[in-house]
Symmetry: C2
């Protein structure tokens, strides 16, 4: 007999199978024993999106939680991280070196932070705070794979930071800059999607490394925010009338030393056309391409990598697991000294996940998008 | 009064200005002094090529040589190196980080090897063997810039090798492989334009480093030659009916670890689609693109650099001047031990340069293209 131990949860126990918030009961007819059944609201990928994601691509699905198997543990999810990269895996045939396409009718995959509320896995005892890749759901059952790791939070740091500046976004910004960008004092660093979860951290790390920073974003309001709140030295509004190429020539007349690319496609091509000698191009993502039918567009100006003796390199934060402590130490230092603004675009409740993701793809967010459950 | 000292040249001195082989005379009317004038046959870029280069784009132009100025020296050119990269600079507006577009009506720029026959530059004394960048001409006047350097040939190595496996082609192959490719034993190395001047050396260096090597070339005869004469482990005929993508999947089912790209454009895109994790793409040239009107084509599959955590990097052999001795030592070792075949596609006489270059672009050569003067 399996009994839930969820001291931090409270629920009314009612008869039958009716859902009441997150709890339900059912009668085990064989022995007349009345057992509580934990309900778990999940957000499913209901169908393959047609180019642009819409709310109807998702459906809300409450399901009773199953019992754990040996080696598994259960997370009560506290925060869901929204990351544009996951958009790619919603497409048919999008399987790549990281993940298979998300299965239809299953919860949307996501990086989450949760607390272990039940465990049959000694490495993840009850009470542990865990980050990992599960899905848009209130509870996740995991076995320790899929990037699962226990977080030991610093009391001076807000918990959600472990999903933001100290989580995937921060790790991605840090290792991209340090390992591929290799910044040197006085170099010109340019990042696109600069108001996004990764971009807003990346610009500030590059600044901390002594670079002059340029943030590219869409719209005057966002650009002011980048400059005033995040401290970018210069900003480019790619939606303004002046072509990006000309704007880049103005802010980087001698070319860009480091490009942090989250956008891909035509914008990446334009940026490759404005490199300084020995430039490093950090290939982080391609948000402009995830919603395209028929796959990614080809990229212009690859030839410039030759004439500028430049380098373009892709990476994945999870390859650097051994060095997370280094990055976490560095970024925690910035946070504690007040030299890192780590803005969060909050949404509340599991049901908000779909629309929040859609809004993020449309660029409505300032900072990292998190769902608070 | 300036007097030529050219002991290794012999010429009939005739009156007037008539050209006789490489010599002419003219009467200096002011003092009635009869002076020998060295004639210099040059091959000019007569017009901007319309997409595909044709013989009429070049013209033969014999001119009397001018006297040296202070700091200059005169080379009697022995060999001209034909390098596909120079095709780019024949186009209008092709100026890049290396060179301006070649001026019309001037000799076609080229890497050459020559002997100093007269000198007003102490660093390049008469008798020195020199490699540098001048032009398609019998004699060059230089001042020590434009990659000029004195060669001290190894008596066991043929002189022309300093323009082939020990020259730009060899340096390009070596530093591309060692610094960008960073080969490890057992890795799969794939090079395109494999029968070209750089490709044929690159495959053998990768082999010497313990890689399994695949050469891509056009036509069954060339492919057999790659395998039988140059020792490639596998070959791909990109002109055969089977698409390149499928052929790559066959020879590299787990993806390619190192790609040495001389071709650019669509072929580079196809290759980026078949990378192994942590692959290195050596961006050396883009022969498929130099003859295109309207600039280079965009390249597909850049996204793969992210999912494969791969790197693409451009370079220029001349950036490695400090390390030429290392490369020359390494390649000389291979040559002396008989483990490097260094094939040359010879043409004779300055007038043959234009057609030889056209033939090379069409892929008619096996190995490095040299003009013997």
């Amino acid at each position: 007999m399996h009994v839930f131990y969820l001291p931090e949860l409270f629920a009314e126990v009612i008869s039958g199978f009716k859902i009441d918030g997150c709890w339900a009961t059912r009668v085990n007819n064989r022995n007349g024993y009345k057992r509580m059944t934990q309900m778990n609201t999940r957000v499913l990928l209901a169908r393959r999106p047609a180019e642009h994601l819409v709310a109807a691509d998702f459906s809300i699905d409450p399901q009773p939680l199953r019992a754990l198997k040996d080696g598994e543990f259960m997370l009560k999810n506290l925060y869901l991280s929204l990351d544009v990269g996951f958009r790619q895996w919603m497409n048919e045939g999008s399987g790549d070196n990281y993940l298979e396409p998300m299965p239809l009718g299953e919860p949307v995959q996501s990086i989450i932070m949760g607390k272990v509320v039940e465990s049959l896995n000694e490495s993840f005892p009850v009470g542990s705070l865990v980050m990992g890749r599960t899905a848009w759901e209130q509870y996740s059952i995991a076995d320790g794979s899929d990037l699962m790791r226990i977080i030991e939070p610093d009391s001076e740091v807000e918990l959600h930071e472990y999903l933001c500046s100290l989580g995937p976004s921060g790790m991605t910004a840090y290792f991209g800059i340090m390992d591929i960008g290799q910044p040197k004092k006085g170099e010109l660093f340019v990042v696109n999607a600069a108001a996004g979860g990764i971009g807003c951290i990346a610009g500030q790390i590059a600044k901390a490394e002594g670079c002059s920073t340029v943030g590219i974003a869409g719209g005057a309001a966002k650009c002011s925010w980048l400059k005033d709140t995040l401290g970018y030295d210069q900003v480019i509004d790619y939606k303004s009338a002046e072509p990006l190429e000309l704007q880049l020539k103005k802010v980087a007349p001698a070319g860009m030393d480091i490009v942090y690319d989250n956008v891909g496609g035509p914008m990446l091509g334009t940026m490759l056309g404005q490199l300084a000698e020995n430039a490093r191009v950090i290939l982080c993502g391609a948000v402009s391409q995830y919603e395209r039918e028929g796959g990614h567009e080809p990229v212009a100006n690859m030839w410039e990598l030759i004439t500028k003796r430049a380098r373009a390199e892709g990476f994945m934060f999870s390859d650097y697991e051994d060095r997370y402590p280094e990055a976490i130490g560095y970024i925690t230092g910035l946070l504690k000294s007040g030299s890192l603004v780590s803005p969060v675009n909050w949404s509340e409740g599991i049901e908000s996940s779909g629309q929040a993701f859609i809004d993020m793809l449309a660029g409505h967010n300032l900072g990292k998008c998190l769902i608070k459950l």
